[in-house]
Amino acid sequence: MEALFALVIGVLTACGVYLMLRGRSFPVVLGLTLLSYAVNLFLLAMGRLTVGRPPVISAGAAGYADPVPQALVLTAIVIGFAMTAFVVVLALKAKAELGTDRVDGGEAP
């Protein structure tokens, strides 16, 4: 499971970085989103991967999942969601005002 998880994070990050380097605002926003997904999975993995274990104290549990990364991921998801919404609206505003969706504001080819 660890290898698969690491692979997923790596592929998501690589795709995110590639898309962020594109010249138009839509792929850049998509890249930011993929990168934030990768970060969220990465944070979750930092509490070590566990299956079927309770994060809070319960009777008869063999072990516990670390609850802190779950709380961090929750915060990161909320912030990432708000930021993505903001950047989408900003990209639309830029398209409307600059007349192009190129990130550098130049002429559309």
């Binding site: 962020m20 605002s25 850049v28 930011l32 990168l35 934030s36 990768a38 970060v39 990465f42 944070l43 993995a45 930092m46 509490g47 070590r48 104290i57 009777a59 008869g60 549990a61 072990g63 516990y64 802190v68 990364p69 961090l72 915060t75 990161a76 912030i79 708000a82 930021m83 903001f86 950047v87 900003l90 990209a91 505003k93 830029a94 005002e97 600059l98 990130v103 550098d104 504001g105």
Partner: protein, 537 residues
């Protein structure tokens, strides 16, 4: 627990919420639609008065906090009364209080300028302004790395919206483009911040900065690479916020495009990055960091000097006044981080003295640039000969003082700050580099600002007719003059202030006091295992 520590966070948070519910915050839209302008105008005055009162209250709270910690105490506030390594802490020491005071004073004058009409350009200007202060104050106070991330996000999202505030038409396109770059770059920075925080938590198992310092010093060799990578990634993120050399490209466009009070407030935003670098490099990666000691220091000085050089070249090359001042911000970050990079009580003390000076001086210049540009018609802030500016004598005099301050010519605090920096560098192996870049950069800045000043005030086009704009009144000139009065205060009381800065540097260089205040007398690693074992029946 001393509840005063919480005040700089609570005041703007609750004040912002209160401002949100004031009917006056909706004024500008109603005004644009030709609605009830006169009626709503009175309410908007209420919003302005409330905003100013809130900032004044924050200044008082920050000053009170500074008095509380002036004896070297470290005040710890456990939010929700959760104990040290588990709960989120606010920690106020000399450095935090110093930064809070600077922020509140800067915000007061920026808001005074905004109340002259800039705040009417957008609906929620005062709300966003307060929440930007919430993020700034929180970032200076928090003792938890993830909480630092959260406060960064708060100040950033408020700054995104504030940056886009402004009049329609002139400069709006440029502002939107710069805003998009600013947002995307900072979102990328936030992702990297989370990667760094996640790695540190995964390896060391804590997010509390004092606890991180203890655990990082005892890193087993097999985890050393991970901790070092995370530490340098963290440095990279803070360097991005501080606009250090490879990452400064977002700054000139964003600051030049922002409206004047917002740009003035942004003068402290790069200093948040500088503060974070200083805090992390002294607390976690300081001299007592064991295997991770001195992780950041070797990178800081060369990058800072390069930033200073590039910033000053930008100042020289700029063809518009606002962009020139934005490059002055880059250069001031270079000087500041060069002082921090020299290390030692003398270097850090010089940096802490230079920090408020550069913040106030560049902010005053941003406010002045707005007053000047508004009186030049279509020329705006372009550095071309134009018509005679109404009230040129008063504006020119204030511009002269601000330029002398920001370049670092003798009578004012900029000179004292640079002198302390050079004195701190005397025993350092990089002395020739520091001397050459700081003095050469000062010369370049002097040439550039002398050229701008003479273009704006001494070389009017004879044919161009004078515009009908009114000369600046008392309330127009008050904010920049107030900021320059603070610079003058820094000069007059340079002795006590630099002593306090050196004391702050000593406190930073001996982080045991901070760690003990946060973790209590027994900073043991054992409680980390307690919840799991204690929970087992």
């Amino acid at each position: 627990m001393n509840h005063l520590v919480m005040a700089p966070v609570l005041l703007p948070l609750l004040g912002g919420v209160l401002l949100l519910f004031l009917p006056g915050t909706r004024l500008p839209l109603a005004a644009r639609d030709g609605g009830h302008i006169r009626n709503a105008g009175a309410v908007s005055d209420l919003a302005r008065a409330l905003g100013l009162a809130l900032v004044a209250a924050q200044a008082l709270a920050a000053l009170a906090l500074m008095r509380e910690v002036s004896d070297g105490a470290t005040l710890v506030y456990a939010v929700g009364n959760w104990a040290a390594p588990f709960g989120i802490l606010l920690v106020a020491d000399r450095l935090s209080a110093w930064m809070l005071v600077i922020t509140a004073l800067l915000a007061l004058f920026a808001l005074l300028h905004a109340a002259r009409g800039t705040d009417a350009a957008g609906r929620y200007f005062h709300v966003l302004f307060q929440w930007q202060l919430l993020g700034l104050n929180g970032a200076f106070l928090t003792g938890d790395l993830f909480n630092l991330f959260v406060f960064f996000e708060i100040l950033l999202i408020a700054s995104y919206a504030l940056l886009l505030h402004g009049p329609h038409g002139i400069g709006a396109r440029e502002r939107t483009r710069a805003g998009l770059h600013f947002v995307v770059v900072n979102l990328l920075g936030s992702s990297l911040f989370l990667f760094a925080v996640g790695t540190l938590y995964g390896v060391l198992g804590t997010l509390n900065m004092a606890d991180l310092a203890v655990k990082a010093a005892a890193t087993p060799p097999e985890n050393l690479g991970l901790v070092r990578a995370a530490g340098l990634l963290l440095f990279g993120v803070f360097a991005l916020k501080a606009a250090l050399l490879p990452f400064y490209l977002w700054l000139p466009g964003a600051y030049a495009g922002a409206s004047a009070p917002v740009a003035a407030l942004f003068a402290i935003m790069t200093k948040v990055g500088a503060y974070s670098i200083l805090r992390v490099s002294t607390l976690i990666f300081g001299a007592e960091g064991g295997p991770v000691a001195g992780l950041i220091a070797p990178w800081l000085l060369p990058l800072a000097l390069a930033t200073l050089a590039v910033g000053m070249l930008g100042v020289l090359a700029a063809s518009r006044l606002r962009r020139q001042i934005a490059y002055l911000v880059v250069a001031s970050v270079g000087s500041l981080l060069a002082a921090f990079g020299l290390g030692g009580a003398a270097g850090i003390g010089a940096g802490l003295y230079y920090l408020p000076h550069s913040t106030f001086a560049t902010a005053a210049l941003f406010l002045l640039a707005d007053l000047i540009a508004r009186r030049r018609g279509a020329l705006d802030d372009r550095l071309d000969p134009g018509p005679v500016i109404p009230g040129a004598v008063g504006l020119g005099a204030v511009f002269f003082v601000a330029a002398v301050a920001v370049v670092g010519l003798p009578p004012l605090s900029g000179f004292l700050g640079k002198f302390m920096l050079l004195r701190a560098a005397l025993g350092h192996p990089a002395l020739p580099w520091v001397m050459a870049v700081v003095l050469g950069g000062g010369l370049l800045g002097l040439i550039a600002l002398a050229r701008s000043g003479s273009l704006l005030f001494y070389r009017p086009e004879a044919e161009a007719e004078t515009l009908g704009a009114a000369p600046p009144g008392f309330w127009d000139l008050l904010p920049p003059i107030g900021l320059l009065a603070l610079v003058l205060g820094l000069t007059l009381w340079a002795g006590p202030i630099s002593e306090a800065a050196t004391a702050t540097a000593h406190q930073l260089l001996h982080p045991q006091g901070y760690i003990q205040a946060v973790l209590g007398e027994a900073p043991a690693a054992d409680p980390g295992a307690a919840p799991g074992s204690g929970g087992n029946p």
